[in-house]
């Protein structure tokens, strides 16, 4: 029996980003609920690193990771929604691309509000909280809470969408997010990022995450 051809979908950095993010969001939640604020802070630093990396990777990464590749205008979205039998694009579909942007935007708000948050007990405040006054820091803390509710809603929607594709459209999206590829009769070629792009993205995001959390960096 011949091996079915595989379509490359997600590169390893995107997959690692995704599943690390899932674990870290869960861990951040758990650590905050259980007052492990030192772990919560570390987890936030790791999330900041991931987000920074993904934003850079959205410019220099493989085609399916690039914003320019998967962000489409309203017409493309309408066409995609109107025709159920339209060929499925490799990577994010025209609507899914924007859900990625929405999730990343809310995650940025989550992390940035955390940087400035001042907690009631005063012992575990964000690494940049010394740049704002007490009231502003308490406001950042309130925003951190409200934004998390929004993030939870987006994640629920996200998982429901994935399940919808699995149950209704009979398409497994999770497989490619794990293995990186999907079975396809006629794979098309996708330009993949090289090691230089990876090194640059890693260096920049590591530097940012280190610097923002370093003691009195600013």
């Amino acid at each position: 029996m011949a091996r079915t051809p595989r379509q490359f979908v997600w590169d390893l950095p995107v997959r690692l980003f995704h599943w690390a993010l899932v674990l870290l969001i869960g861990f951040s939640w758990w650590s905050a609920e259980n007052y492990h604020m030192d772990w919560h802070r570390l987890s936030g630093q790791a999330v900041l690193f991931l987000i920074a990396f993904r934003l850079i990777w959205g410019v220099v990464g493989s085609d399916t990771a690039r914003f320019a590749h998967f962000l489409k205008g309203p017409r493309a979205i309408r066409v995609y929604l109107a025709d159920r039998n339209a060929p499925a694009p490799v990577g994010h579909n025209p609507l899914g691309g924007w859900s990625v942007v929405a999730m990343l935007a809310v995650l940025v708000m989550q992390v940035v509000s955390g940087l400035f948050a001042v907690d009631t007990d005063g012992i575990e405040s964000g690494p940049l909280s010394h740049l704002v006054d007490f009231d502003q820091g308490r406001l950042a803390s309130a925003i951190h809470g409200v934004v998390f509710a929004g993030l939870q809603a987006l994640i629920a929607l996200h998982v429901l969408a994935v399940l919808f594709y699995l149950a209704v459209r009979r398409r497994n999206l999770v497989g490619p997010m794990v293995t990186g590829s999907a079975a396809a009769p006629a794979p098309i070629s996708v330009r993949r990022a090289g090691p230089l792009a990876l090194v640059v993205a890693l260096l920049l995001s590591t530097a940012l995450a280190w610097w923002l959390f370093a003691q009195s960096a600013l």
Binding site: A32, Y35, V118, T120, D121, S129, R138, S141, G145, Q215
Partner: protein
């Protein structure tokens, strides 16, 4: 009839401060805790930096110690949650009075201890004492304040 009305009016006037009092004390303690929080933020901001301004730490420590002398009066019976009053104070403050008193005493002890250490000028000791002081806030908040976390 007329005198009765006047008497009722007078009585209402005289008792209104008593009726308003719980709302006022709630506002007083929330404002007080915010001052404590702001003072404690100043302390932690300084201790976090490489070159802490000791006078900021010392002034703030004294402020907190002064509040630690007032806070015993911030929770009179009847100043708990009820319709129309916005407060994060839990009813357990009054139903578990001994435990609450212990938390209050813990704060007083730590506030006094910190003020002492702040006067000594030893930054390493201040950092340890600030953690202990923050711990006394957290201990009380976890049991007696409605959480908004973070």
């Amino acid at each position: 009839m007329r005198t009765l009305l006047i008497a009722a009016g007078l009585a209402a006037l005289l008792t209104s401060p008593l009726i308003a009092a719980p709302g006022d004390i709630v506002a007083t303690r929330i404002a007080g805790f915010r001052e404590v929080g702001a003072a404690f933020k100043n302390i932690n901001d300084e201790l976090k930096s490489g070159r802490p301004q000791l006078y900021v730490v010392q002034i703030s420590a004294r402020q907190i110690r002064d509040y630690a002398r007032q806070h015993m009066g911030w929770f009179p019976a009847g100043s708990g949650p009820r319709p129309g009053v916005k407060t994060a104070a839990k009813p357990e403050i009054w139903t578990q009075a001994p435990a609450f008193k212990k938390a209050q005493d813990g704060f007083t002890t730590q506030a006094n201890a910190f003020a002492g250490v702040a006067g000594s000028g030893d930054v390493a000791k201040m950092r340890v004492a600030a953690k202990a002081l923050g711990g006394s806030c957290a201990t009380c908040h976890r049991s007696f304040r409605v959480e908004d976390k973070r």
